[in-house]
Structures are given as structure tokens and as C-alpha cells.
Symmetry: C2
Subunit: 373 residues, 2 copies
């Protein structure tokens, strides 16, 4: 059981990590808060698996007359849009939810982002808690208060910063997490490694086939990552000081990959993993770091990816095109690159030809390593 | 020319009030900010009247390559919904607007609320300024950062707190404001009077037929109201301490009236004016204040209303029904009442029969004073 506190100017909250967090920390907090209603935001597949357990933990702390309502929507990034949001508002309104009630996000990143934005904007803001069920959400998206939805073709374009009351990361949910989702989360773990923590990378490298063995307790690794995330959020909650921006390592390439392959085809973590390999090669090509960074990334990330890169169905040109399209949307083309492991730097001006080379070489390497690609 | 500063924990901003604010303060600030793009959010009728003047003032301060884009939507509360919001997001995205650009709300309360919420949530928040063109917006809604849209049947149910960079209240726009809109704004002025300021009420009472004479400079009155609003916002920006809640004087009745008559039939200020008369009578009926408050409200508000109450097409039962429906939506039935002029108090438990009596008596009085009703 680990506990991380996120302290920002606007307030502080705890991240609880371990086994049985639902029955212990969540149930205790609910008993203390005594909400009249809890709205669980989730998707049917996770709710079918674990809804009863969550419900029991909630009922433990709530008054007899208190109610649990559910807002369920289909799994996946496709649901993270204004339409689902509108349905959510309608449901909150129909149930008579007020600012004294509580929203509970129960799922992965999509559920957390959408539920958090619902809570951020319904009646100008109501409290919510995060109960992440994926590794990705536990190490990253559930912490830090970035919430929101996508616009067509533009991820996370509508959103807010809204601190959760607390985050409850119960690692027992990871047993039912599909392997591909687990690998996607491990790519985010590797990101923290390349940015801040060589020990994390050493651990990942020591695993066989990129997966933790049966004796491995992921809770400790999650707590380390949550700690990194908490420090970043504390230093730059609103993403204005260039600290939080470093967490976009691999994302300029990754977003273009996701878009070029069609959203939903690659997991976010898979796209970021490939994106980090491309970023490492780009760091080498522009002479920012010594040779070897690219190889190091491959050694760590290829086992984690497993066959995940096989779903890449777009070539260099399409990936570059989508990257440029992002630029036209006014975001500017900026890369988080590395001067070496754990020495990130934001780079704004890179010749497009060099970016193309980094993409092409990485795609070739992926094909060479995995002939199925 | 008056200047009010709103100082809150999160930051401060100025409210400029006077004639020629557009060409002076707004143009100066734009020249200082140098945004690459300004998105004017407005509706066609106000933009037809004053768009050229606004455009000229903006161009004065902007670089040659900088652009002004417009997002126009139909006038009225009917437009303040998620659909218009979605169109707005789409427009911002298509124009490549970023957090370095600027949203400018140019219109009344609906425009300000919607533009502010667009700015609050696009890319997790971008800067915006308020350029109110109605008396109502100048004295109330443009100040304080409450922004948002309606859900079907539930006003302001989705929203945020988002401070504008500044508010530019150019009173020259009031010359083209329809009389009914002017009267609606004066009802809000009277609200500040009943809550905080007997001098304001004396001024309103001294006018003939509830309208300012030709020699009257409204700027001073607007500055006084903006000052009251600023102090309230400073004391309780997020509406958590019971200070800002007082500004809902007349609103429990007023919202029910608006809803019962069908949104858009009564101006918001008209509904609030009638609502304040009802609240005054309720204050008398429960013995919170001495007799006379009801008469005082009629003396001040009936001339301001002009024939505005003639559009009331709902009786006591329907008004009470809609008030109860609001309660079911979880908002609870709370009234701001008066112990006497300038002594507001939040009252939660009132017998429904007494509320009904206050509504019925006020409707009867309105009918007696204005036989057209």
C-alpha cells in the first residue's frame, strides 16, 4: 500500500495505490464524505466485471437512503466526444445530481477524462474521484486533473483542469486487464524511465518478453510512476512552465501515428512507444545526443510492444502529413527530445527532412525486427 | 470614464466604463497583447450595427498579418446551448485558434456566457475579454467570470468560472439598445439598490416612467453597479460563501416565471423584477420585515417594468409547479429575502402556502395596476 500526495497551489489530494484500496480507502472516504448520491461513470465491460465489487464498497460507506447511479457508455476513444458528454449531462440532470453529490470515474483514461470534464462543468463544477482500472490510467491520466473530450480529428481539444478529491488505484483490477492494455500502460512506465528514472528502465529491461513475471508486484512500480507524475503536476499544474510539457515525450510522433492509422487501431501507449523510438532517433540525427539512444529505446520498448506495432498501417508520408496537419491546427510542431537518458529538452525548430528520416528509419527497424509488420 | 478593479485570489482584471472605451482602452490593450487572432463571438443583429466599429478598433492595435474571425449565432437564450457550443468549437478548430489567441465576447449576457465558456474549455482554457453591449451585461453578467450554457429546461447548468482579461463597457452601445432591453437592465440596477444601495433606488424613483432622461449619464450608474458586483465577486468568487448567492434576489421566483411563461417570452430582467416584488411580499408574509417593503418594491419596479409584465401568461399554479420542478432537479428551494432594504438574508424553509400567497398577491397587484395584463 502506497500513498502519494499531490500538493498544488489550489489544493492537495491523495493517490492510494495497492490491493483492496476499494474496500479500505475508498469505502472509508465515502463514509466520511457521506454523499447522498454517487454517479459512477464507466463502460459496460468494466462494470460487468467489477461493478458489483465497487457497488458493495460504496454501499458500505453510504447512508441507507443514499443512491448509486450509473452513466455507462461504450468503451474506447470514439466515445470521448461532445455527444457522450451531452448524454452525461442529461443523465446528471434527470437524476437531480447537485454539487453536493459525487462523480466517480471507474475505468481507463477515456472514462477518467470524460467523467472529470462532466464533473468540472456540471453546475460549474462538482467533486469527483478517480478509480482507474488500467495501468495507463493508474500511472498517468488519473493523476493531475487534466480532463476533457476530443473534437473530430483533434484529441483533447475541449477540456479543463479539475482536481479529483482523491485517486484510488486498486491494482487487483490489473488481473483482468487485457495483455495489450497492460503493454500499452508499460510504455507509459518506460516514458517515465526515459524522462526521469534509469532504475525503472533497468527493471523493464530485466523482464522476459516485456511483461512482469507472476512474482512481480506492479504496485511498487505504479507508486514510483505516480510519484513522478505528482512531482511534475506540483511543479506545473496548468502546463504553463514547460515542465508538464515534457510528459509529451513521444507524443508528437505518437499522435500523428494514431491519427494516420485511424484512431482506435493502435493503443495510445503503443503509439507513444513507437513515437519515443522515433524521438530517440531524431535526437541522434540532429546531434542532440550521442549514438546509442535509439538502440537503447529499441531494447526497452520492442519487448514491451510485443506485436503491438503490427497494426501500423500507415507509411512515412501519411504520418508526416498528419503531423503537419496538427501543425496547421495551430499547435506548432514541437518535439520533446533527449540530450541523453533522463535529460529531456523541448525542441521547436527541426528540419522536416530530418523528421522524415527518423520516421522512416524507425518504421524500417520495426519491420526488420518483426517481419509480420 | 470609470475603472473598477476586480481582485480575487486567482488574479485581477479591470472593468472600463464610459464612452469611446472601444477606441481607447480596448484598442490600447490589443496593441499591448498583440494577439495573432481575435475571435469575435456575437450575434448578427449587434454585429450588423456595431461590427465595423469594433473591427476598426481591433485593427488599430493588431499587426498587419493578424486576423479577426467571427463566430456569430442567433440572438436569444435559445442559442445558449450545447449545439451552439459545438459549432463554436468547430469554428475555433477550423481557424486554427490556439491558447495564444483571444476570444472577444461582443453582445449581451447570452453571448458573454457562451463565449466565456468556449474560452474556458477550448484547449483547456484560453484568454477572453468581455465587450458587453447591453445594460444587463454591463452591470452584471460580464463581470465575475461565471460562464456557461443551458441544458434543456435548466438554465446555466453547464459552466465554469473563467476570469476575463478585462471588461470593456462602452456605454455608447446603449443608444441602439431596445427600450425593453434597457428596462430589463434597469431591473438589475434596482436589484443592487435593494441589496446594497438606497441611493440607487432614490435615483430610479426620481425618473419619469422608469427611464433615464436625456441628460442622464448612465455611465455613472453602471460604474456604481459594477463596483457592487466587483466587491461581491472579490468576497466570494466561486459562490461558496453565501455572499454571491445574494445576487439571486428575485431569482427563485424569476426563474420559475421565465420557465412557466416559456423561455424567451419575458426578458430575464423583467422576470427578476416581478420576482423581487414577490420576494418582498414573501418577506412581509413570513414576518421577516415590516409592512411597506412590498409597496416600496412596486413604487421602484412598476415604472421600470413599463408594460413588461404583460407577457406573463402563466398563473400561480404553473409558476409554483415550475418552482417545485426546479427543486426536484436537486437545487433545493431557497429564497433570498429582505429583513428590510439592504438587509438580505438566505431563507431555506418557507411554507409552500405562503409562497403561493406571495405569487398570487403579486399577480393580482400587477393586474390591478396594469389592466392590460
Amino acid at each position: 500500500m502506497a500513498e502519494i500526495t499531490v500538493r498544488t497551489d489550489g489544493g492537495e489530494y491523495r493517490v492510494h495505490i495497492g490491493r483492496g484500496i476499494l474496500e479500505r480507502e475508498l469505502a472509508d472516504d465515502i463514509a466520511r464524505l457521506r454523499p447522498q448520491r454517487v454517479v459512477v461513470v464507466s463502460h459496460p465491460s468494466i462494470y460487468d466485471l467489477h461493478g458489483k465489487r465497487l457497488y458493495a464498497a460504496l454501499q458500505d460507506g453510504m447512508d441507507d437512503a443514499a443512491k448509486v447511479n450509473e452513466f455507462l457508455f461504450p468503451q474506447g476513444e470514439d466515445s470521448k466526444n461532445l455527444k457522450t458528454l451531452e448524454e452525461g449531462y442529461g443523465m446528471l440532470l434527470a437524476c437531480g445530481i447537485t454539487r453536493e453529490d459525487l462523480v466517480l470515474a471507474f475505468g481507463g483514461g477515456v472514462v477518467g477524462d470524460l467523467a472529470g470534464f462532466l464533473a468540472a462543468t456540471y453546475m460549474r463544477g462538482m467533486p469527483y474521484v478517480q478509480v482507474p482500472t488500467t495501468l495507463m490510467a493508474m500511472v498517468d491520466s488519473a493523476i493531475g486533473g487534466k480532463v476533457g473530450v476530443d473534437l473530430p480529428g483533434a484529441k483533447n481539444m475541449v477540456g479543463a483542469f479539475h482536481r479529483p478529491l482523491a485517486v484510488y488505484s486498486d491494482v487487483s483490477f490489473l488481473h483482468t486487464l487485457p495483455e495489450r492494455e497492460l503493454r500499452s500502460g508499460l510504455a507509459e512506465v518506460a516514458k517515465y524511465g526515459f524522462l526521469y528514472d534509469s532504475d525503472l528502465l533497468a527493471t523493464l529491461e530485466s523482464w522476459e518478453q516485456g511483461l512482469p513475471g507472476e512474482t512481480c508486484d506492479l504496485a511498487e512500480m505504479i507508486a514510483i510512476c505516480a510519484g513522478h507524475k505528482a512531482r511534475v503536476v506540483e511543479a506545473d499544474e496548468h502546463d504553463l512552465r514547460g515542465v508538464r510539457a515534457m510528459l509529451n515525450y513521444g507524443h508528437t510522433f505518437g499522435h500523428a501515428l494514431e491519427s494516420a492509422c485511424g484512431y482506435g487501431r493502435l493503443r495510445h501507449g503503443e503509439a507513444v512507444a513507437v513515437g519515443m523510438i522515433m524521438a530517440a532517433r531524431l535526437s541522434e540525427l540532429i546531434g542532440l545526443c550521442e549514438e546509442g539512444l535509439y538502440d537503447y529505446h529499441q531494447r526497452v520498448l520492442m519487448p514491451i510492444l510485443g506485436g503491438g506495432a503490427r497494426d501500423i498501417n500507415a507509411g512515412r508520408e501519411r504520418i508526416i502529413f498528419d503531423m503537419q496537419a496538427d501543425k496547421k491546427k495551430g499547435k506548432g510542431l514541437r518535439f520533446v527530445l533527449l540530450e541523453g537518458p533522463q535529460v529531456p529538452r523541448l525542441v521547436e525548430a527541426v528540419a522536416m527532412r530530418t523528421v522524415e528520416a527518423a520516421v522512416e528509419e524507425t518504421l524500417e527497424t520495426l519491420r526488420r525486427v518483426d517481419p509480420c509488420l
